[in-house]
């Protein structure tokens, strides 16, 4: 009985929280940084001795959403080991407020989320990697001049394995 009550109470409070979150969403709205490719470039070319994991994704991309928790888990495991995580959203600009921001808040993403809005993909895709056909998800891991590009979905183990190559 007691447990049941507790559960109910928990459910209630979770519900309350969700309601509060929705109600306060204009205030809890975060300032999404939106870049064109020129603006994104510095994120891809830091020479600061850190390992940078850059994931290109979108809320409408099911395999991207599926692998996001792996990046978040990796961040919690390796975030203090000089590894920096950036999630570059390719959501459509008219979806930033209705889809992207609520998603980021709801999932409580800890990685830095920025948006890339640049229609001239034919010129910037090959600059990110010559081999990239343009499908999502895609990921870059780099450290100074050393760099690897992946046009694929990851499992957590695969992602960790690739990161470890840079840690050693």
């Amino acid at each position: 009985m007691g447990c049941g009550n507790n559960n109910k109470k928990n459910n209630d409070s979770i519900q309350d929280m969700e309601v509060t979150e929705i109600q306060s969403s204009p205030e809890s709205d975060f300032n999404l940084e939106v870049y064109d490719f020129e603006g994104l470039k510095p994120f891809l070319n830091k020479e600061d001795g850190k390992i940078h994991v850059i994931n290109f994704w979108a809320t409408w991309c099911a395999p991207c959403v599926k692998e996001l928790p792996y990046f978040e888990k990796l961040k919690s495991e390796y975030g203090n080991k000089n590894v920096d995580f950036t999630l570059v959203s390719l959501d459509f600009p008219h979806m930033y407020d209705s889809k992207l921001k609520p998603f980021v808040l709801k999932q409580q993403l800890k990685s830095k989320v920025i948006a890339l809005d640049d229609v001239d993909s034919n010129s910037w895709i090959p600059q990110i990697d010559e081999s990239w056909s343009g499908s999502l998800p895609a990921t870059i891991i780099y450290k100074n001049g050393e760099r690897k590009f992946f046009e694929k979905s990851f499992t957590y183990e695969e992602l960790e394995h690739e990161l470890k190559q840079f840690l050693n």
Binding site: W60, V119, I125, W132, S133, G134, S135, K152
Partner: protein, 206 residues
């Protein structure tokens, strides 16, 4: 000695594994410009099988890998219809192929494809790559992904691979219509200037 063999075989296994990874990574493989595309026989939304060889009078094809469920593909639906309206009568019909595994993406089932084609007034066949054997041959990695083919004595030669145009967001703000430029060049007996372009799209669901 035994140890060395062991190490060598481990290295070999790793090499093989990485070679395999490379091969299955999306951009590798598939047709390049100038290759002859094999014909196929795929089921249309009306249940009939469709092959390129059915089009006796075609000069070529605008083979378009697309689907119902990818927002990028959806943004281009009207433009794909326009391409077919403009070029089918000039000898370059659109052949749309849905490459996703419909078990993974129920929104891309044959039934859903049929519904979408009716809603959007598709004037072209909308085929399902049920066995997912055709899109890898082309090297399609995403939707939308276009291959313009020209009929030659040797077969259907790949003349253009890539995006439809340079603005997914706004058809009115497009500055370069890649597919139209390619087909126009072929119709005028000229070389395609920009043979490969890239755009963001949804990875094909296996």
């Amino acid at each position: 000695m035994k140890k060395t063999i062991k190490i060598v075989s481990v290295i070999l296994v790793v090499l093989c594994a990485s070679a395999f990874t490379l091969k299955t990574s999306s951009s590798a493989g598939g047709y390049g410009i100038g290759d002859i595309a094999e014909d196929f026989s795929l089921k249309n939304i009306d249940g009939e099988m469709v092959s390129l060889s059915d089009y006796k009078n075609a000069k070529g094809f605008i083979v378009t890998f697309t689907c119902n469920t990818c927002p990028y593909a959806v943004m281009y639906e009207d433009r794909i219809v326009e391409l077919d309206k403009k070029y089918a009568k000039l000898g370059y019909p659109v052949i749309a192929v849905m490459p996703n595994n419909a078990d993974v993406m129920p929104g891309d089932s044959l039934e859903a494809m049929k519904k979408r084609a009716e809603e959007k007034g598709f004037t072209f066949p909308y085929l399902i790559d049920e066995k997912q054997e055709i899109y890898p041959k082309f090297g399609a990695t995403k939707t939308p992904h276009v291959f313009v083919l020209q009929k030659t004595n040797q077969g259907n030669e790949v003349k253009y691979i890539g995006a439809i145009d340079d603005n997914y967001k706004d058809a009115n703000a497009v500055t370069t219509k890649y597919v139209e430029n390619a087909v126009d060049a072929l119709l005028n007996g000229k070389d395609v200037k920009e043979t490969e372009t890239r755009a963001i799209g949804c990875g094909i669901k296996v």
